[in-house]
Amino acid sequence: MIQSLVFIVLLAAGAGLFARQVVRIRRNIFLGRPLDRTDRPADRWKTMARVALGQSKMVSRPVAGFFHILIYVGFVLINIEVLEIVIDGIFGTHRIFKPLLGDFYNVVIGFFEVLGVGVLLACVVFLWRRNVQPLARFKSPEMTGWPTLDANLILIIEIVLMSALLLMNAAEANMPDKGGYLVSNMLAPIFAGVSPEGLHLIERVCWWLHIVGILAFLNYLPYSKHFHIIMAFPNTWYAQLEPAGQLSNMESVKKEVALMMDPNANPYAAPADGAEAPGRFGAKDVQDLPWKSLLDAYSCTECGRCTSVCPANTTGKLLSPRKIMMDTRDRLAEVGANIDKNGSFVDDGKSLLGDYITAEEIQACTTCNACVEACPVLINPVSIITELRRYQAMEASQVPSEWGLMFGNIENNGAPWQFPAADRFAWADNLTVNSKKNEA
């Protein structure tokens, strides 16, 4: 009875705190600029099913892909058991599904145990890959400190959770009235000779450790790259369906260009009623980015696949697409905390461009889309880079001087180089070929 009460209070607190955090993150994401990503819903569901549910992008790196899918499948299926744990916890029952499912229950739990071992194994492999094997993508500058600790914590927590589950069952395996399952029967000798009271205590401790651990983990997610286990789904659904090379045409600029090209337009005409004041061109801070870029930031797994294929990064430039995503999230979290504290955003004298991301970084991008292609959850770092460049070019007028010259050339000669427009057709002068067409 007491146990049930304690459980219900913990469950409500865990779920409530998580919900509050999710509401805050949703608010943060919609600080971004509007963008319509609801067209072609059928294609969006398909993309989500393929990339998030089906993990299609993970397998391009077979080792990481295999173990990741193991953890993913294990996580999703073992959570079915959490449903039973929650019901048991609330009503003070024990393995409520067992009498309902009979022998099949033993098969299912046995299967979950095998998955649990798989998850454990995969977590150990991942810890080894991150800490022992020198994988370059886990050693970049942006990974120092918290991001590396975060990744290790997640793996350790998962190992603890899986161990608790297996040890709980192993304790039960030694109880004559209960009995174990496929893997726990093999683990049973660990607790051989423990008194019935001792076994019961071990079983209870593991049960509580498992469920409290899960609730704590749930509330850890929003502060961690592990949030991707949820965000991967909306993020792939809202991903760009147009070809990767297609950049949006800025609506605000369209209006101005139309005015400039229309000889009859009155440039001094008052804006129509209800017309919003023209905002900033491009992005200086997170609020200037389209909301999808902010969703991207919360979805990033910090896996570094993007950075490991980035031509700028691999040739030693400062640019790292992963850092672009991490900086965007960190700044957004800071802006969010500012709003929580002050009710609405109070200028803190900082901005994404300048305080987090430097001009040198964004200027190095070749817009090659290798990062977009590599990302397992369809994040687009290039769209953030482009928005920051737009601010640099159109608001701050701080582009590399060669780009300034290039702009001037296009404006004056219609070409990025300083060639006279009149020579554009000179390639066709004296165009002599060995044609066979007129031979006959």
Binding site: A312, T367, E373, M406, E411, F419, N434
Partner: protein, 266 residues
């Protein structure tokens, strides 16, 4: 037989009350850059040889605005786009082919929203179609029979627009020994010129991107690197010069390879 070609402009055709089958969009590199002009000439020769009625805008063509857009100057991009769209809509252009993947991407993906709706092809796709239709034949095995050729994917053709097979189909028609580089297709490595990098020095690093790409080129042991982009052409050629391999490794555009194999150009 040596023939001197006369390239029609849209203005000339319009004056005669005619319209071409296709507009050949030459692009800035193809118009001004010495090396890229040779690609333009080779492609024009092919179009002429297969008897496609084509025309160019000539001096009425202007930069698509791609480098301005990628460098952040959306104003300049849209000004350029509106100007080009006005010209093309005036000539009632329906179909465009271009040998530049950057022009291709911009014309195909970014112009429609600004009022420029055309069927846009990259020359790799058109060449593949012509080969499939039997309109281009590589006589007697051609110059490249059995040669080790590798294809360098342009970012704006490959990842940006998903075109990987058309250029390879063209190379296969040459009866060449097509080999892939370590990083190819969706994993292809950029030449370093995209996103307006062509027009400025690279940021501080430990290597140039095109030099990094040379590792893949050399490892493939190819004698010919096929490109499908005038910027890739520049970067690859410079990279090979840097490695002092210009006597053993040659860079050609797809159009040049087809034109050479057909004996249209030397």
């Amino acid at each position: 037989m040596s023939t001197t070609l006369k390239i029609d402009t849209m203005a000339e055709l319009a004056a005669r009350g005619e319209a071409p089958e296709i507009l050949f969009w030459v692009g800035c590199a193809g118009s001004f850059d010495d090396r890229a002009r040779r690609i333009t000439r080779a492609f024009a020769a092919i179009l002429h040889e297969v008897g496609i009625k084509f025309a160019v805008l000539g001096t009425e063509e202007s930069c698509t605005g791609d480098p301005a857009k990628r460098a952040g100057n959306e104003f300049l991009f849209q000004m350029q786009a509106m100007q080009n769209i006005q010209v093309m809509n005036m000539y009632e252009v329906k179909k465009i082919v271009t040998a530049c993947p950057h022009c291709f991407n911009t014309l195909k993906n970014e112009y429609p929203d600004l009022g420029g709706n055309y069927e846009v092809l990259h020359h790799a796709t058109l060449l593949q179609q012509l080969i499939n239709e039997g309109r281009i034949k590589v006589q007697g095995g051609g110059t490249f029979k059995g040669k080790r050729i590798t294809f360098h994917d342009s970012c704006y053709l490959g990842r940006a627009n998903g075109i990987y097979e058309a250029p390879r189909a063209v190379l296969e028609a040459l009866d060449a020994d097509l080999v892939e580089m370590k990083r190819s297709k969706a994993n292809g490595l950029c030449c370093g010129a995209g996103g307006a990098q062509m027009f400025k020095e690279a940021e501080k690093g430990n290597k140039e991107v095109n030099i990094e790409r040379m590792d893949d080129v050399l490892e493939s042991k190819a004698e010919v690197v096929a490109a499908a982009c005038p910027f890739c052409m520049t970067m690859l050629t410079d990279g090979i010069k840097n490695k002092e391999k210009e006597s053993s490794i040659h860079v050609y555009d797809l159009a040049e390879l087809v034109a050479k194999a057909n004996g249209l150009i030397d």
